[in-house]
């Protein structure tokens, strides 16, 4: 199968519900043809509303427009938008078996039984659910249901594939496996996809771009790398991955912290908020660093040690260390970090 997606353009799409609640601030965003964009954020951040506006399940407030390629679909009802959607609850029809579920969209389009059967067979193979065609829905496991839901959504060759937390209902192990399967499937289909999740690992794996959302507005748009290493603000830094955010005075190219000083690249003097990822730190002898602190706890998590160090900054610092390192609580250690890994966050000083 080849790419059959379109670009999506949202212009000033906001959503205010009848009770006056603002679910989404007017938002403009362009999603390229064939791209996978992940909307990431906690519940209530507006990501699902965004997805439902693209789907046509919600209409944007006046002034908002939704375009698929050159076509304005703002007033096109969902049943004519030709979007495939995978729901969090899967929403498989219990009165139809697996094959009937997958073929339903084709049947509605008046596609003949023979062609339908062939297309269903293709999708069954593609999603790896061979042999389940005549099963009823309640005989399927969670993972199988997920695949049927996906097959049903792509069967209609949608212009856009929308996925609303499609892995949330599964247990952790299965979730991880399906995540990478889904990734290769989306790449293979080359379809424009919009994926909504609150799970940052899913976002990292699947997104060409990630849109981090907060309180009905976009907090940052960027590649997984950008989001992780160059978060635009404290919210993104703390929501995506673990982060040490410190607030301090910046002088002579370094942050002045309780436990010493921390060199920063491109520093401007004054009050600053900085972020350092736990894995960016190195633990060195106290004498070899300008910043020192006392080891508070050491937790062995298998592939590494998670160490908390007190007294270095205003809050204990999280540090990931190699699992062979000899550190013990009470020890005083030095901390170093490559200057580029200290990320100054704009406009966040309180």
């Amino acid at each position: 199968m080849t790419a059959h997606g379109v670009a999506i353009h949202l212009e000033n799409c906001g959503k205010t519900f009848a009770n006056g609640a603002r679910a989404l601030e007017p938002t403009t965003i362009d999603i390229a043809r064939g791209e996978t964009v992940v909307f990431l954020g906690p519940s209530g951040c507006g990501k699902t509303t965004m997805l439902r506006i693209i789907a046509g399940l919600e209409t944007p407030d006046a002034g908002g427009r939704v375009r698929f390629g050159d076509e304005d679909v703002t007033d096109t009802p969902i049943e004519r938008r030709n979007v495939g959607m995978v729901f969090q609850s899967y929403a498989l029809f219990p009165n139809m078996n697996v094959a009937e579920n997958i073929g339903y969209g084709l049947k509605i389009r008046g596609i003949g039984a023979a062609e339908r059967a062939q297309r269903v067979a293709e999708l069954v193979t593609l999603t790896g659910i061979e042999g389940l065609e005549t099963r009823s829905i309640d005989q399927l496991s969670g993972g199988q249901r997920q695949r049927v839901a996906l097959a049903r959504a792509v069967a209609i060759r949608p212009r856009v594939l929308l996925l609303d937390e499609p892995l949330t209902a599964l247990d952790a192990l299965l979730r991880e496996r399906l995540r990478s399967e889904l990734n290769s499937l989306l790449r293979a289909l080359g379809i424009t996809s919009v994926y909504v999740t609150h799970d940052q690992a899913e976002a990292m794996t699947l997104g060409d771009r990630i849109v981090v959302m907060r309180k009905g507005a976009i907090a940052q748009i960027g590649s997984p790398r950008d989001i992780y290493f160059a978060p635009a603000n404290r919210y993104v830094a703390e929501f995506v991955g673990a982060a040490n955010v410190v607030e301090a005075e910046c002088r002579d190219g370094a942050l002045i912290l309780p436990g010493g000083s921390l060199p920063v690249a491109h520093a401007t003097p004054g009050r600053a908020v900085a972020m350092v990822r736990p894995e960016s730190w190195s633990i060195v002898p106290a004498t070899a660093a300008t910043l020192t602190g006392r080891v508070e706890t050491v937790i062995f998590v298998g592939d590494r040690l998670r160490v908390t160090i007190a007294g270095a900054a205003d809050r204990p610092l999280l540090v990931d260390a190699p699992n062979g390192l000899a550190v013990a609580p009470g020890q005083t250690v030095g901390l170093t970090v490559p200057p580029g890994a200290v990320r100054l966050l704009a406009g966040e000083a309180a």
């Binding site: 729901f87 929403a91 029809f93 219990p94 009165n95 339903y104 389009r109």
Partner: protein, 254 residues
């Protein structure tokens, strides 16, 4: 106590049914003897028609009430479910007030068409009465089922291109089928066994409970009355067993 006052008497009823002059054949007479058979068919037709009508009107109202929130909605639900525990005799009387000689429908039609419609004591009157007590039972069950429907089912069908009527035909009504079976069976069982309403209205029409009553009191044909009761009990029991297998809980009282 349950044993003494319920199980033993029921056993006695079954035995009595076979103790008449014709013995066990009394049970067969329900189906064979023209008078009994006609009554049985009458009752089944009436109960089926009531059930079908109640399902249709209640489903329309239940879908509407669960999909929209508007002022007065809970009052409307209360009004639609209030006859649930109303006795059949009273319902019969209400039908007389509606379609009897001094009834509202008669007054309205006399005014509109110059002809007074009086049908309280006919099959149509019974139908109206049975519909009256069936609606609350069906509406409650169907409303509960609509509420439990995953809204994503409808949305999914629409993303796949289904127009509203196709959504209903292919997804919503099939998903409500267990509720239809459950509430339909309850309505059917209740209509089959309804005595109070029939007692007030069925002066010209013969239905099974009235037949049992007249066999027992007027003809003193106790064995036949018992046999007919057992037959009726079996039918209603089977209908309710069906309802329960489909997950129904609203009981048939009336």
């Amino acid at each position: 106590m349950v044993v003494a006052f319920f199980l033993l008497p029921m056993a006695r009823l079954i035995v009595t049914g076979a103790s008449g002059p014709s013995g066990i054949a009394a049970y067969a007479a329900i189906l064979v003897e023209p008078r009994y058979r006609a009554t049985l068919i009458n009752t089944v037709v009436l109960a089926t028609a009531t059930t079908a009508a109640a399902l249709v009107v209640s489903t329309i109202a239940a879908l509407f009430l669960q999909r929209h929130r508007f002022p007065g909605r809970s009052l409307l639900i209360a009004l639609l479910t209030f006859p649930l525990a109303l006795p059949g005799v009273v319902i019969g009387f209400l039908i007389i007030l509606l379609a009897g000689r001094q009834g509202l429908i008669g007054d309205v039609t006399a005014f509109a068409f110059g002809e007074k419609w009086v049908f309280a004591y006919s099959m149509q009157g019974l139908f109206l009465g049975y519909l009256y007590f069936s609606i609350p039972r069906v509406i409650l069950t169907v409303m509960a089922a609509v509420e439990k429907l995953d809204p994503a089912l409808e949305e999914a069908a629409r993303t796949l291109g289904a127009q509203p009527w196709a959504v209903h035909r292919d997804v919503i009504l099939p998903a409500l089928m267990p509720a239809f079976i459950a509430s339909g069976a309850i309505a059917f069982a209740t209509a089959m066994g309804a005595f109070g309403t029939a007692f007030t209205l069925a002066t010209n029409v013969n239905v099974l409970p009235m037949l049992i009553y007249t066999e027992f009191t007027l003809s003193a044909n106790i064995a036949m009355a018992a046999a007919l009761s057992v037959g009726l009990g079996l039918v209603t029991w089977a209908a309710l067993a069906l309802a329960r297998s489909a997950g129904g809980t609203v009981a048939a009282a009336g």
